[in-house]
Amino acid sequence: MNKSSAPRQSLGELLPKLVVAPTFVVAVIFIYGFMLMNAWLSFSSSRMLPKYDWAGFIQYEKLFANDRWWVAAENLFIFGVLFIVICLLLGLFMAIFLDQKIRAEGAIRTIYLYPMALSFIVTGTAWKWILNPELGIQRLVREMGFESFTFDWLVNTDMAIYTVVIAGVWQSSGFVMALCLAGLRGVDDNIIKAAKVDGASMPLIYRKIIIPGLRPVFFSAFIILTHIAIKSFDLIIALTGGGPGFATDVPATFMYTFSFTRGQIGLGSAASMMMLMAVIAIIVPYLYSELREKNNEH
């Protein structure tokens, strides 16, 4: 009797594991295995073809000695900071305005958000045309009578990166707005009522109660925007192609160019490892704080 009642792994217990097993295998190979392989490549002497040898930090030394990489890193910094700050501010203010019991709110929200449904390639193509100095906005404003108006950022080495910011903000700020609006709607009505009873004015309530309450929303929006910024590739390819010259290169385009068109696989993988580090530097504190909050709940 004791034998028959001993715990055993029946098919019923095994089945759930079997169902997730393929995904597990895929994750282990295609996420973690590949990350390791890529790390190895970045320490190899690979050029045109991947070579799995050990060359130490050569690729990283080459990377850090490469002017173009530093341009890319600086561009990512400029683009990232502006893109994130502007998106957050615009998103927050539009959400607050939209939260004032606006008629046609649904329609307005739809308009703010539709760019998010587009491919960055489409966005880039459209803005490339709009920002075109010959026939675009510059022409439009000149035709309106401002003959000396110049707006040639797209072809201006110093300014081209800011056109990426414009197109990026256009595409993503509506999304921040949607996040903030959801956050605003989640604020407990009773708290606002209590503040009103205490005699606080609406702007004060927003400043002291509601906006601080949106902290977690800002936080996730920040993470997502950072993520978009670090990965941004398609927008730059379509809008500026990394140009003029390599004035608007970012790490993602740098990595692509060196890995796939210049046959510098080792260098490309080193660049991608740097991108991974950047993401980790931002995600880890985020995960840490998330987990800490969850633990406090218990």
Binding site: S4, S5, P7
Partner: protein, 367 residues
């Protein structure tokens, strides 16, 4: 022959022992209540009886079958859940039929069963509705119907009334008891509500920290709690625990009680041998609110004490008066017509014939 036998059951999560060796046995037709504060392991135990949680150690028998490692579906049980767990995408009828369909009961037979059950629970008009169109009480009924339809050897109830409002809860409580009496079903019922435990159970297992503290008929547990935890958990308002000094005078143990300026010495006439050991020591007197009443006709084994009234709470049938005896707040249940006023002295009668004593250190009962 037992209907359910639980032998030395343990549940271990990682390093935490949630159940520490439970033994239980009930007869066919008995209504067993598992009661205790949250986290005591009562729901875990129920889930293990149901087969929803694996058993770490020990055995479970339903009838004479060892079901310890059987799937829930092979245990011949039915369960009513706290949230009712009605399948939201199915009508009431489909909910009741679901288990029958899986067991490949004949269609005509299914129809008969649904008819019988819905009549019994008066849910015939609801059969074609979806769960979200039902009120809380109706859902509760359907959940019970689903369990009844299966005609299992044991019914398991997991806090089935806790999501209902107070009035409905009392109503459904009565119905469950009636159903049990009429159908003679064997039931294991988990609750944290001691009133439900008292009113419904044939036998009660009071649990705490993964152990059964006491197992027995409700009245026995109420009258003879084994320790201070059980005494305070069963009964509302809870039993009063008054620390007092014991001394031996002329071979009889006396305890001293004081309230305000008055101090009395009360001899203990009950035959409690263990009390001898507490002479000239302190001991905890356990006395239920209904054992402290207004003074009227004298009772043979009682004490009188004038107490300062601190709080008066009328409940209708009687009034709860809080006084202070030996420095602790003490609740008394007095007749609503008895005169009482806050900050005034009130003459009270303490019925000593049923009082119990606890050791101040171990909190165990002194017999």
């Amino acid at each position: 022959m037992h209907a359910l036998k639980i032998q030395n059951i343990e549940k271990i999560y990682g390093k935490v022992k949630v159940l520490k060796g439970i033994d239980l046995e009930i007869q066919p037709g008995q209504f067993l209540i598992l009661v205790g504060p949250s986290g005591c392991g009562k729901s875990t135990l129920l889930n293990m009886i149901a087969g929803l949680e694996p058993v770490s150690k020990g055995n479970i028998f339903i009838g004479d079958r060892d079901v310890t490692h059987l799937d829930p579906k092979d245990r011949d049980i039915a369960m009513v859940f706290q949230s009712y767990a009605l399948y939201p995408n199915m009508t009431v009828r489909q909910n009741i039929e679901f288990g029958l369909t899986i067991r490949k009961t004949e269609k005509s037979e299914q129809k008969k069963i649904v008819e019988k059950v819905s009549k019994l629970l008066q849910i015939e008009p609801l059969l074609d509705r979806k769960p979200k169109q039902l009120s809380g009480g109706q859902r509760q009924r359907v959940a019970m119907g689903r369990a009844l339809a299966r005609d299992p050897s044991i019914f398991l109830f997991d806090e089935p009334l806790s999501n209902l409002d107070a009035k409905l809860r009392v109503e459904m409580r009565g119905e469950i008891k009636e159903l049990h009496q009429r159908e003679g079903t064997t039931i294991v019922y988990v609750t944290h509500d001691q009133i439900e435990a008292m009113t419904l159970g044939d036998v009660i297992a009071v649990m705490k920290d993964g152990e059964i503290q006491q197992f027995g008929p409700p009245q026995d547990i109420y009258d003879n709690p084994r320790n201070q935890f059980i005494a305070s958990f069963m009964g509302s308002p809870s039993m009063n625990f008054i620390p007092c000094q014991a001394e031996k005078v002329n071979g009889v143990i006396q305890i001293s009680l004081e309230s305000g300026n008055e101090k009395v010495k009360v001899p203990i006439k009950q035959n409690i041998k263990g009390l001898e050991a507490y002479a000239d020591k302190s001991i905890i007197l356990g006395i239920r609110p209904e054992q402290i009443t207004q003074q009227g006709e004298d009772k043979p084994d009682s004490a009188k004490l004038n107490c300062d009234v601190e709080l008066i709470e009328p409940t209708g049938p009687d009034t709860l008066v809080t006084v202070r005896i030996n420095g602790v707040k003490t609740v008394c249940r007095i007749h609503p017509t008895a005169e009482s006023k806050v900050d005034k002295l009130m003459p009270l009668l303490l019925d000593m014939s049923k009082v119990v004593f606890f050791d101040p250190d171990t909190q165990e009962r002194v017999y």
